[in-house]
Amino acid sequence: MIRVEHLTKTYGEIHAVRDISFDVPAGEIFAFLGPNGAGKTTTIKMLTTLLRPTSGKVEIDGLDPVTHNDAVRKRFGIVFQDPSLDDELTAAENLDIHGALYGVPKRVRTERSEMLLRLFELWERRNDAVKKFSGGMRRRLEIARAMLHTPKILFLDEPTLGLDPQTRNQLWTHVKKLNEEEGMTVFLTTHYMEEADRVAHRIAIIDHGTIVALGTPAELKKQTNSETLEQAFLALTGSTVREEGADSNDQLRNMAKMFRRPR
């Protein structure tokens, strides 16, 4: 379903991603783990048509994201690292806009919206503005939205960041269910190792832009003689803390926080 061959992305002198290759078969839950700045988000952006690779090849369901970007976009749903809902609109309206942009016929999108809102336990709140939603509700809504156009692949970029254990647990239960029932391929990143251990069929660990290990959770633990995936992860990537510069979007977000009304 996802095929990556010798994928590289450079920004001037900096190699964000260097020569990575992997394959994700249909129906698999694939976790992409790595420290901050290892190249996870850059890779996701290249897989999802937002960034052009410097060299190498990507295939999504047999299609190249660079040359067939609209066809590729229809085939995946994505939940971004940071929120991407329209706060002023209601949950139902957010879904409706998404459906319209993806060319889902009106009748189908009403039906599927209802099904997904019920599944993610948001149906009672469908006519409330998203700005009144909690972090967990927003995340659920984003996943519901990503599923609206029945994609073949679901990309989740750190979907559980900042959520409490209950919400995280519930979220992964939903994702597993969608994977099992609709046979959807899932590509996820997270910093919570126990989550990856629990839901992922296979895991790739990326560091400094290269894949340092790839296998099932059990294989990775065995390879490093570790009890837990967290230990395996630290054994593979070392324990130095990575620094990441704040980009202008982060600064903008901090500004926005200042102007936001407390609620």
Binding site: T49, L50, L51, E88, L101
Partner: protein, 248 residues
């Protein structure tokens, strides 16, 4: 078509729901109309130019549309910061359609805002000389809205923080307003100012509105329409190009 419609509708919904924004954005035109209109009224009269409120009202209407239009382009910044921009950019639709939908939405909002200000002007004592030219006035309002929403989109696509927005307000939007003939007649002013006003698209919008509403024109209504149409095509093209280049 659905893409354009749904994004247009989004802008309208956002506008109608933010009542605080509607009220707040009416403060400025009201202040200009009352303070300048009544304050400079007697001087203007003595200079033999007639009723200043009559002269000023079209300028204030144009000002409202200018600010609202530019702001709707700047809203791209909010979309970027709250993330909705990404949602639009990974959707399987051409970016040009996204840009058109947004621009039409922003222009419609600006037009509605302009309509409210017309009502306020009427309340303040403004009387159009020729009511049958109202459709022509609305045409000019639409043209002003499109020109500056497109400009706003182009700016919003390039900017990535709020500091930049302040700079745009002070060095672009304010000069466009003050040097457009919205506040004073363009006849008899120094040559330098005349040249600047002649290069400013808003001058033609204000002039067109005056031609329609009070029957006074500096450039002539046809020139106004031609210039505004030309500029809007150029800016739409430019805005679409900038928008299609956004990287996230």
């Amino acid at each position: 078509m659905t893409t354009i419609y749904i994004l247009w509708l989004r802008q309208i919904k956002r506008y109608v729901r933010s009542r605080a924004r509607i009220v707040a954005s009416l403060g400025q035109p009201l202040l200009f109309l009352l303070a300048l209109g009544f304050g400079f009224g007697p001087v203007f009269q003595k200079a033999g130019q007639g009723n200043y409120l009559q002269f000023l009202a079209p300028g204030v209407i144009a000002m409202t549309i200018l600010f609202t239009s530019i702001f709707s382009g700047i809203e791209l910044l909010f979309d970027r910061q709250f993330g909705f921009l990404k949602e639009m950019l990974v959707a399987p639709v051409p970016r040009l359609l996204i840009m058109i939908g947004r621009t039409l939405g922003g222009a419609t909002v600006a037009l509605m805002q302009g309509m409210i200000v017309i009502a306020i002007c009427l309340l303040a004592g403004f009387r159009p000389t020729n009511y049958s030219a109202i459709p022509l006035a609305i045409l000019f309002m639409i043209l002003i809205a499109i020109v500056f929403t497109a400009l706003g989109t182009a700016i919003g696509s390039v900017l990535n923080d709020m500091q930049g927005f302040q700079m745009i307000m002070n060095f672009l939007v304010m000069p466009i307003f003050f040097l457009s003939g919205a506040l004073f007649p363009l006849t008899g002013i120094p040559l330098a100012l005349q040249i600047i006003a002649g290069a400013n698209p808003l001058s033609y919008g204000v002039d067109g509105l005056r031609a329609a509403l009070i029957g006074v024109s500096h450039f002539g209504a046809l020139t106004d329409i031609a210039v505004l149409c030309g500029v809007s095509i150029v800016l739409l093209y430019f805005g679409a190009r900038q928008f299609s280049r956004i990287q996230i």
